[in-house]
């Protein structure tokens, strides 16, 4: 809370982005990406957050300058090699620092990016054949996707960022506020930022957040949301043909899945869980509305939409559709029906569940698995099942054998 207040007192506008950024610090090896056009305050926000958490224990690697391997990972200690013939690696300050900043990630060369990708994925660095485990850290990066002098980094690299914050430019009133702040802090907002908590205190908080037990409703909502952004009756993950061509003639063409070209990875679920746990720990509660608000900062940078006009607006539309879908599921009592069917076959519940499954792919997947079991037990014939009646071809590897 103090951190949020201190950052907000030095950064004008974008309050929701700052709130999410603070929540995202409350789990180990936190990574945040800030995306905005030039001059909106990406670097300032990055520095404010890192200073607030790590004080002076921070290192910034800038994509705008020439970055050598030794500056990111480490370099050989030449005297040891010459005198003793031993290869000793001097780790770079970036590896050792608690606060890691990447300025203008889009300009980082692919080799540097690959090393940082490895660090984010495995929590370790490799230099000169030596592997070094990296202690807990907080990493904040920023980029301007409109920048012409950019490298195109791979989607898995961006997927390693827990959240992606899109900053907007200042309104007229906010410009006056910024001038007031610059006057107050002598034109240097970052220098005036105090270290709000020590890294040890942050670690304690992170441990407490990790032990937060989430309500089954919230866990279910998160899993369902991610599944709805992944599910495809025609398996787009494995298909050579991608939407919209793949969706031609599909029963679910009007569903959310028809708007998504590359689906979400499971890291989206992990990131959402971290943020929701942090919200429960910090505010004492987290409802469905909050989950949907958080989604806007966790999902957009992980998926490719079939058509994008304005990524955030398009995503907001998709989330709104998802919200209606969830409401429809409650209205149809899909999950209570499935609960009944888990206990045992009931023809009346099965009929209703089948009706619902025709309009809900995530629900259909669960029902189809149960149908397979009932067919094996002789309760149903293959002709009576949803897959046969709808002409769906469910992947063999997902079937209950």
């Amino acid at each position: 809370m103090d951190l949020e207040r201190e950052v907000k007192s030095r950064f004008v506008g974008n309050e929701e982005a700052i709130r999410i950024m603070v929540l995202n610090q409350l789990h180990p090896r936190s990574t945040t990406l800030i995306r905005a056009p030039r001059g909106v305050g990406k670097s300032t926000l990055m520095l404010l957050m890192l200073k607030g958490l790590c004080g002076d224990d921070l290192v910034i690697v800038s994509g705008a300058s020439e970055v050598k391997r030794g500056e990111v990972l480490g370099r050989l200690h030449i005297p040891s090699l010459e005198k003793e013939g031993v290869e000793r690696v001097l780790l770079a300050a970036f590896v050792k620092a608690k606060g890691k900043g990447l300025d203008e990630v889009n300009r980082l060369n692919p080799y540097t990016t690959a090393n940082i990708h490895h660090l984010m994925q495995f929590g370790e660095v490799w230099a000169y054949g030596q592997r070094t485990r990296v202690e807990d850290y907080t990493l904040v990066a920023n980029e301007n996707p409109m920048d012409a002098t950019s490298f195109v980094h791979s989607p898995p690299f961006y997927d390693r960022f827990d959240t992606c914050l899109f900053l907007s430019s200042l309104t007229l009133n906010e410009k006056f506020q910024l001038q007031g702040l610059l006057d107050k802090y002598g034109q240097d907002l970052v220098d005036s930022m105090p270290q709000v908590l020590s890294f040890e205190e942050l670690n304690e908080a992170r441990k407490e957040v990790a032990h937060v037990d989430l309500d089954p409703d919230l866990t279910g909502c998160i899993n369902l949301l991610v599944r709805d952004f992944q599910a495809c009756i025609r398996e787009k993950e494995r298909s050579e043909v991608k939407p919209p061509t793949l969706c031609e003639g599909c029963h679910f063409i009007r569903d959310i899945c028809g708007s998504i070209r590359e689906p979400l990875s499971e890291r989206a679920t992990v990131a959402l869980m971290h943020l929701v746990k942090a919200a429960v720990w910090l505010y004492g509660k987290c409802d469905l509305e909050e989950v949907f608000r958080i989604c806007l900062w966790v999902l957009p940078h992980r998926v490719t939409l079939v058509r994008t006009r304005n990524l955030l607006a398009d995503f907001q539309d998709l989330l709104e559709r998802e919200r209606v879908k969830m409401e429809d599921r409650n209205f149809r009592r899909e999950w209570p029906l499935l609960n009944e069917l888990v206990k045992g076959f009931n023809s009346a519940a099965y009929r209703l569940a089948k009706d619902a499954a025709v309009e809900d792919i995530s629900f259909a997947e669960e029902l189809v698995k149960m149908e397979d079991k009932w067919v094996q037990e002789g309760i149903l014939t293959r002709e009576e099942t949803l897959t046969t009646q709808m002409g769906w071809r469910m992947p063999v590897h997902r079937r209950v054998l």
Binding site: D215, P216, D217, T219, G220, N223, E320, R323, V324, E327, N330, F331, R333, W335, P336, L337, L338, N339, E340, V342, N346, S347, A348, A349, L352
Partner: protein
């Protein structure tokens, strides 16, 4: 095989919206249903006189409400038509009686 956490989720959902199950029937009580879908502009055109767009998307509940209202209006129309018919007969009888009384007096 259902995962334990998934089962807990299903049970939590069932506690929130319990079902009544008999051998050949499943039923439930529908309460506290909030409408979260985008509002239809159809009602705005009816009540606020706003111009309709080319395509009108309507939620099932809105369509059901309109259907209900149309049925009610039809019923009301029928009963008014019956009343009007009766009143016409009464007026005719009264007019005839008045005419007879007047003619009788002459």
């Amino acid at each position: 095989m259902v995962d334990e956490k998934f089962r807990k989720f299903l049970e939590a959902q069932t506690r929130r919206s319990p079902l009544r199950i008999s051998e050949d029937k499943v039923s439930w009580e529908d309460r506290d249903r909030r409408l979260l879908s985008p509002p239809s502009d159809f009602l705005e055109s009816v009540y606020l006189g706003k111009e309709l767009q080319n395509t009108v998307v309507m939620e099932r509940s809105v369509a059901a409400m309109l259907q209900h209202r149309l049925t009610e209006l039809e019923k009301e129309n029928d009963s008014l038509r019956k009343s009007a018919k009766i009143l016409k007969i009464v007026i005719a009888v009264v007019a005839a009686a008045t005419a007879i009384v007047i003619l009788w007096g002459l």
